[in-house]
């Protein structure tokens, strides 16, 4: 209390926020995780990567703290302590890199390079007469095994990173979550604001059939099923076997602070046809899903807030068009 009074005495009265109530207890704020742009956060499935990360740190510590003992253990007594210590520092850095990055493909490749260095040190030791060949063979076999694991995991992470594309978009809509959720949950409403969608047919409770325009006048179709449905909070879905574009997605409805409506957050994860190159080409034609989702959300907001999708004299036409009425496009 005393602190509060001092502060009030120091601050000019007009700078006190109108809502601050001295008698109310200070609001406790939840400590939040740092924002990550690749929502939705995938559960950390890289258990192998994690194990390799800890292995790196363990081995690194041994190299740094007990280089002589380690050299004796692997049967390469003559290896200089400084070299082992340096290699240990590299191991520790790689380990920390792997453990602290959500998708540590690059750090795993650095481990592969380190493994090659380890193997060459062991190879050099075979030529030394002070070495113990039986120990050396065992150590070499162990390093070769770890190298294989490193290569497998690094490749897997690199491949995943290139193939899976995550797109997110969000918009605040000046309507309560209940209303926004209800409108979206009726999937047959979606073509009203998703410009590429031609139709959605709801089959039974969880399954639906979707048809959308694709570049170059083609159409794509797929069946989807709802994987999660929490009323007024979240809808998640994924495409079923045989989909033209395999994907999964979610839309969250979060009450905006201060009674400002609903924060709608969409995330789509998909394997683009044609991989990364395909994404680039789609971008050139303005058909890239990330841009589509943003545009769709903008129109969704228009529908929820104003009742319909808003057109200008040019935006009603696909592509570039002068801002003037057109005679033929009558009575929509």
């Amino acid at each position: 209390m005393a602190i509060q009074q001092t502060r009030r005495a120091l601050a000019p009265s007009h700078e006190q926020p109108a809502k601050a109530d001295a008698s109310a207890p200070p609001r406790r704020r939840q400590v939040r995780e740092e924002y990550q742009p690749t929502a939705p956060r995938q559960a950390r499935s890289e258990q192998l990567a994690t194990a390799l990360g800890w292995f790196s740190i363990g081995l690194g510590l041994a190299e740094v703290l007990a280089p002589k003992g380690l050299a004796k253990l692997i049967g390469a007594r003559k290896t200089p302590a400084l070299l082992l210590r340096t290699m240990g520092v590299r191991e520790i850095i790689a380990g920390i890199g792997i453990l602290t990055n959500p998708r540590p493909a690059r750090w795993l490749w650095s481990r592969v390079a380190g493994d090659a260095m380890d193997l060459s040190v062991l190879g050099a030791a075979f030529l030394s007469d002070k070495s113990e060949p039986s120990r050396l063979i065992a150590a070499t076999a162990a390093v070769a095994g770890v190298t294989a694991l490193d290569v497998i995991e690094a490749q897997r992470l690199t491949r995943d990173k290139n193939d899976r594309v995550v797109r997110v978009a969000s918009k605040t809509i000046n309507r309560p979550p209940e209303e926004v959720y209800r409108f979206w949950r009726n999937f047959e409403n979606l073509p009203r604001f998703m410009s590429h969608l031609e139709l959605v047919q709801v089959a039974d409770g969880n399954r639906s059939h979707w048809k959308a325009k694709a570049p170059a006048g083609m159409t794509v179709e797929w069946d989807a099923e709802i994987t999660q449905d929490r009323p007024n909070e979240l809808i998640a879905w994924r495409s079923l076997e045989g989909a033209d574009v395999e994907h999964s997605g979610s839309v969250r409805f979060e009450r905006a602070p201060g009674d400002r409506g609903t924060e709608v957050k969409v995330a789509i994860v998909y394997n683009p046809p044609g991989g990364v190159l395909g994404v680039g080409i789609a971008k050139l034609f303005g058909e890239e899903p990330g841009e589509q989702i943003k545009g769709d959300l903008y129109r969704f907001k228009q529908v929820m807030e104003t009742g319909e999708v808003i057109h200008s004299d040019s935006s009603i036409h696909p592509g570039l068009h002068a801002a003037q009425p057109s005679g033929d496009e009558t009575d929509q």
Binding site: N174, G295, I310, D313, S314, S315, A322, A323, Q324, P325
Partner: protein, 389 residues
């Protein structure tokens, strides 16, 4: 119908185009009786605003008679006489509900374009590039007015078009420019630019209680108008050093607030002027901010710089040190016209102000190209051109 179309830099042409139609249920179609060329149209004319298409209908200051209304427009009927505000605003979004109409979150169908340049998108505007929606403008015989249930204000008979036309943009813009100065008794306000907005800003500053208004321009006929019609003291920046003159006129303290009613194509004699002009020509710097720089350097410690001149992109040599170390406040924005329509119409009706004093030319719509030409070149003592379709 006939409409004045942008055909490329320094080229406008009155062409025959299709008549507008209702596209949304809250649209109205207005038969235009008076429309004007705005100083900000010159930025489009000169080709400094990106995303113009050949054939775009220009114009965002217009009024007329309601010809047709969409199903959801309940407050207007055919035959009503209306002035149309230049920002298009839905009335439903969070910004509209806070009376920040020029920031409407729903009225720009090309929001993605604006987001790339500005970070977030402002509202859609009539006849002002595709960045702000690609809406056909009002220098035409007819216009489609979206959200007609929110924007247009009905005008009773007894007031001429000329008296109320400028409610569509420049009078509210000038008034908001003065309002942002937060004028207190005894305040001295300096206004850069004695074009239509500058002149109305001088008048507005007096309406809001300014003690003195000092106006800056380089054209003697405009400075004369600022003195004789708006009651300002004037400075010609081609013959005096503005910073020294303002310092002396205000007892060494500087004007309490400065209004930049010039924007991105300001002129400056000397080396810095040539530097900015060259950079702009090479597309290295979209905006030439001389008036803005000078208004910042001139403002008294702790004062306010109110920016109502239009800027399109980025500026160079921005005197941020002056802003920070001297506790300046910069306020800005496209005018939230809808907020000011009623109170300013009242002031016109009460006879407190008659904005028609700025009109120097009244031309037929067909003569739009001539209007742009003399307005740009400041020929024939041109201040404001009104077009009659």
């Amino acid at each position: 119908m006939k409409a004045n179309c942008w055909m490329g830099p320094k080229m406008v042409e009155v062409q025959e185009v299709p008549d507008p139609k209702i596209l949304n249920q809250r649209d109205a179609i207005v038969k235009i009786t008076s429309t004007a060329i705005c100083g900000s149209d010159l930025h489009l004319y000169n080709g400094f605003i990106p995303s113009m298409e050949s054939g775009d209908i220009m114009g965002h200051e217009f009024m007329g008679e309601v010809m047709e209304v969409g199903k959801q427009v309940k407050n207007l009927k055919v035959g009503d006489r209306v002035v149309v505000p230049f920002p298009i605003a839905c009335g439903n979004c969070w910004q509209c509900q806070h009376q920040m109409y020029s920031l409407c979150e729903n009225s720009n169908p090309n929001a993605w374009m604006a987001e790339k340049l500005f970070g977030y998108s402002p509202a859609g505007l009539f006849g002002y590039s595709h960045l702000t929606g690609g809406y056909a403008g009002g220098q035409a015989e007819y216009a489609r007015v979206p959200f007609a249930d929110v924007g247009p204000i009905k005008i009773e008979n007894g007031l001429s078009d000329e008296q109320v036309l400028f409610l569509s943009d420049i009078f509210p813009t000038a008034y908001m420019g003065a309002e942002m100065c937060d004028i207190k008794p005894g305040d001295v306000i300096a206004v850069w630019g004695c074009g239509p907005v500058g002149l109305l800003a001088i008048k507005s500053a007096y309406l809001l209680g300014a003690e003195r208004v000092i106006a800056i321009d380089r054209f003697p006929y405009r400075l004369r108008m600022a003195r004789e019609q708006a009651g300002a003291e004037t400075l010609n920046y081609e013959s005096v050093n503005i910073l020294e003159a303002l310092k002396e006129m205000t007892g060494g303290r500087g004007p309490d607030a400065c209004i930049d009613a010039v924007g991105m194509e300001s002129h400056k004699p000397g080396l810095l002027g040539i530097y900015d002009r060259a950079k702009q020509a090479m597309m290295l710097e979209p905006d030439r901010p001389h008036a803005l720089r000078e208004s910042i350097l001139a403002c008294r410690n702790g004062g306010t710089v109110s920016v109502i001149g239009v800027y399109g992109g980025f500026v160079d040599k921005f005197p941020m040190g002056a802003v920070m170390n001297r506790s300046l406040t910069i306020r800005s924005g496209q005018c939230h016209v809808q907020r000011y329509l009623k109170p300013l119409l009242e002031r016109i009706k009460n006879g407190e102000i008659d904005p028609s004093f700025i009109i120097t030319h009244s031309l037929r719509l067909e003569d739009a190209a001539h209007g742009f030409d003399i307005f740009l070149k400041k020929e024939d003592d041109c201040v404001k051109v009104v077009l009659k379709p």
